[in-house]
């Protein structure tokens, strides 16, 4: 057995990311790892590759028969495990050879880097992969596909026996995918094993020998690729959980508050959103789902005026076509955003609850530039109590609050501006179950008061439970719109994956 892991459990500050996970990798095997966002794939990989050192997790694993107790990534690399990340860990300014031998440069007399020797070895490694590139060329002259091959060459030059590839084809063109597949098959023949993480199930079934599905931090099953198909995997990924399916109590929908027509947005020259059209009515919750990178957060951020350049389409808010090109304008027009990463972009961690709560509304709470203390205190207290924020009063420092309470502060700040449309991006990420339920209740209250909500969530069940309608995005375009009653986890997941999946591979 190349790798054998059992009872792996990893916790982070109250959240259990992996629970009693077992995993096995044979020599010369390509083993795919599938699961929703947040299912635990990244945590598992980080654990196996030394990012989480021995002692920070429970359980054990062995590599090639020897127990692994990695203290760092270096230890893992020395044991033959290499990770090819989605964001390639390479240095554009250096040459290909330099990248391949980064940290392990061949030296003459122990001091001088032997460039010629490095380039020769690099050329050899690349040749073994069937590529002929000049190793003295700078890395930035290569396209993403070739850069990835250099990463693989780097891993092989270290005599890695286990390659972990994280969404390797996400940025590749079709022919580059073919090249990669050929190389992986070749590596398999040489006895090198791969753990292949991907959402593209057709690729998974093209290349993998076995598939393991993770869900909510636990192993669901491990299947032989021959004996399964995409539909089976999807069903396992999504599972069955009824609990929150009835969280929503919807008021009768009111007037249309937001209309988006044929929206197309680019960022840094790349087309990221296209042909997006939808309506939103007062009192309604429109859930937006999809995989990471599909454009969900980006859509919300664009509507708030902080991301992307519109190349086509219209956004009509409350009947007016407003140019929403900066947060101040957006807030003034009545649209508010609660961002995904509350610690980095949502809060001023060193300031008090009161400071954070009133920050977006200071214009209304002041006269001639001077803040009216009593009004501010009244507004802050109102939302503090209404949201049930648990802190040592308004003066409590936000950075010390729990995740749930921090989230309430961000939401409170947005709500204080009396928006007509509230956009929530992963509002319950990293929050305990009790606080989650409170936020669900809050969403219901909001819509009962006439607010409209755009909700982005990676948890399918949260989306299903809270939304009146669901819009699925795939790769920047709409891949499905569903009413509450029509949607099932499988149909949503399929829309997220972007294609109608045949029920049986040939």
């Amino acid at each position: 057995m190349m790798l054998h892991a059992e009872h792996l459990t990893k916790r982070f500050a109250g959240v259990t990311a992996l629970h009693d996970v077992s995993f096995e990798l044979r020599p010369g095997e390509i083993h795919a790892l599938c699961g929703e966002n947040g299912a635990g794939k990244s945590t598992l990989i980080n654990l196996l590759s030394g990012v989480h050192p021995h002692g920070s997790y429970e359980g054990r694993f062995e590599v090639a028969g020897r127990e692994a107790r990695f203290r760092s990534i270096r230890d893992a690399a020395a044991s033959g495990i290499a990770v090819i990340h989605q964001e390639l860990a390479c240095i554009d300014e250096m040459t290909i050879a330099e990248n391949i031998f980064l940290g392990r440069e061949p030296k003459r007399w122990g001091v001088w880097v032997d460039r010629a020797s490095a380039e020769r070895s690099a050329a050899e490694e690349l040749a073994k992969l069937g590529v002929s590139i000049d190793p003295s060329a700078p890395l930035r002259s290569l396209g993403v596909g070739h850069k990835q091959l250099v990463e693989i060459a780097k891993a092989l030059a270290r005599h890695s026996r286990i390659l972990i590839l994280d969404e390797p084809t996400a940025a590749l063109a079709a022919h580059e995918v073919e090249v990669l597949m050929t190389i992986l098959r070749d590596l398999r023949a040489r006895g090198i094993s791969c753990i292949y993480i991907s959402h593209r199930l057709e690729e998974v079934f093209d290349i993998a020998d076995r598939v393991t599905v993770l869900r909510d931090g636990a192993t669901v099953c491990t299947l032989e690729a021959d004996a399964a198909d995409e539909a089976v995997v999807v069903r396992h990924m999504v599972g069955r959980e009824i609990a929150d399916l009835h969280a929503r109590s919807a008021p009768p929908p009111g007037q249309t508050v937001l209309t988006v027509v044929d929206l197309a947005v680019t960022d840094r020259g790349e087309q990221r959103l296209r042909d997006i059209s939808f309506d939103l009515r007062a009192g309604e919750v429109l859930g937006i789902g999809g995989l990471m990178g599909a454009g969900r957060s980006e859509l919300l951020m664009h509507l708030f005026g902080v991301w992307g350049r519109r190349t086509a389409g219209r956004v009509v808010l409350m009947g007016h076509t407003v140019p929403l090109d900066d947060p101040r304008a957006a807030l003034k027009s009545g649209i508010a955003l609660v961002t995904e990463d509350r610690r980095r972009f949502g809060l001023l961690l060193e300031e008090s609850v009161g400071f954070n709560l009133s920050l977006s509304s200071l214009g209304e709470l002041s006269r001639a530039g001077v803040i009216r203390g009593r009004e501010e205190a009244a507004a802050n207290t109102h939302w503090f109590e209404s949201l049930g924020i648990k802190a040592s009063g308004l003066r409590g420092i936000v950075g010390r609050l729990s995740g749930g309470n921090q989230q309430k502060v961000v939401i409170g700040r947005a709500l204080m501006t009396r928006p007509k449309v509230v956009m929530l991006d992963e509002p319950t990420r990293g929050i305990d179950i009790g606080a989650k339920r409170e936020i669900y209740a809050l969403i219901n209250r909001l819509t009962a008061d006439g607010c409209a909500v755009l909700l982005v969530s990676s948890e399918l069940f949260e989306l299903l439970g809270l939304s009146d309608r669901i819009l699925m995005l795939h790769d920047g375009a709409m891949s499905g719109t569903f009413n509450r009653n029509d949607a099932t986890p499988e149909t949503l997941m399929r829309a997220a994956l972007g294609a109608a999946i045949p029920t049986r591979r040939q």
């Binding site: 809060l347 060193e350 977006s360």
Partner: protein, 312 residues
């Protein structure tokens, strides 16, 4: 906001340090503990106070301005030329100086904000430019103004302090009030605490930073007039090294170079400490280079203490 005790403990520490310095120099120099020294320090303070107030506000946003010394020289030069060559009144010259200072500060701010360059670098360039302009304006010569400008620097009849001192204290009060009670003050803190989060909360980040730069410039403009009044002349070399004293005072006072937290009142104490330190060093006969070494060392120690405190 720290707990009440925390805030006072900072002030207490500063007062203790200041007291310690006074005792130390009192021992080292016989004439240190005297009304004459008090007067000397009191005269040094107004210019430092005004600029330190502005610098505090700017540093709260996470910015910094290294050109204040040169701006001091430039505004002083313009005041000299206006009053001597063009016969302007003192009031007119003061207004001109404040406007010019605000303008230069505004340029610093505009370039930092629009081109998204660190204010450190932009003000470094302005340091050279303003100094060069100061020399150009005066043809490199000192402009002797005389009694017309000395009024604001001399003690008011019957009082102990000069109009300059009163204005400086008023600026401190206004600065602290602004930071604590106005919308702009909140915005300054928010921008320094987390610029991205502030922007997403609807804070006009660019405009806030611009204001901070311009206010500092305007205050420096007034400080330039006070500086001229001390010597009765506009010296194009005025203010060389001034920025170090100002930054030292603000950092010693506890405002962090990283932004987000600051107190004008604590900067006042920082100014007292720095001014006392400088007076003491001259009294014990320290040379100019030694004074700069000590001031630099003080900055390093204060920054270290600040970082250490943040980590704790």
């Amino acid at each position: 906001m720290r707990s009440r005790l925390g805030r006072f403990s900072d002030l207490l520490v500063l007062l203790v340090v200041w007291g310690g310095l006074i005792l130390l120099f009192g021992r080292l120099s016989s004439g240190f503990l005297s009304t004459a020294t008090l007067g000397a320090v009191a005269n040094r303070i107004p210019a430092l106070l005004l600029t330190a107030t502005g610098m505090t506000l700017l540093m709260v946003t996470g910015g910094i301005d290294l050109s204040v010394g040169s701006v001091l020289g430039l505004c002083g030069a313009v005041v000299g030329v206006a009053m001597v060559d063009f016969g302007w009144s003192l009031t007119g010259a003061i207004l001109l100086s404040i406007l010019l200072g605000s303008f230069v500060g505004g340029v610093n701010g505009l370039v930092s904000v629009k081109l998204r360059l660190p204010s450190f670098i932009v003000s470094l360039g302005m340091l050279e430019i303003a100094r060069g302009l100061a020399f150009l304006t005066t043809h490199s010569q000192t402009k002797y103004i005389g009694a017309a400008v000395e009024g604001i620097g001399t003690a008011i009849h019957g009082w102990v302090v000069s109009p300059a001192f009163v204005v400086a204290l008023a600026a401190v009060a206004a600065g602290q009030a602004m930071l604590s009670y106005t919308v702009l003050g909140r915005y300054l803190i928010a921008v320094g605490a987390n610029q991205e989060a502030a922007s997403l909360s609807g804070v006009p980040v660019d405009r806030t930073r611009l204001w901070a730069h311009a206010i500092l410039g305007g205050l420096t403009g007034f400080a330039a007039v006070i500086n001229c009044s001390r010597l009765g002349s506009a010296d194009p070399n005025a203010g060389v090294g001034f920025e170090l004293s100002v930054i030292a005072a603000v950092v010693v006072g506890g405002t962090s170079l990283l932004g987000g937290r600051g107190s004008v009142v604590k900067s006042l104490l920082g100014v007292l400490i720095v001014a006392t330190l400088e007076a003491g060093l001259v009294q014990i006969g320290a040379t100019e280079p030694l004074k700069r070494v000590v001031t630099g060392a003080v900055i390093v120690v204060a920054v270290f203490a600040d970082t250490w405190r943040r980590r704790a």
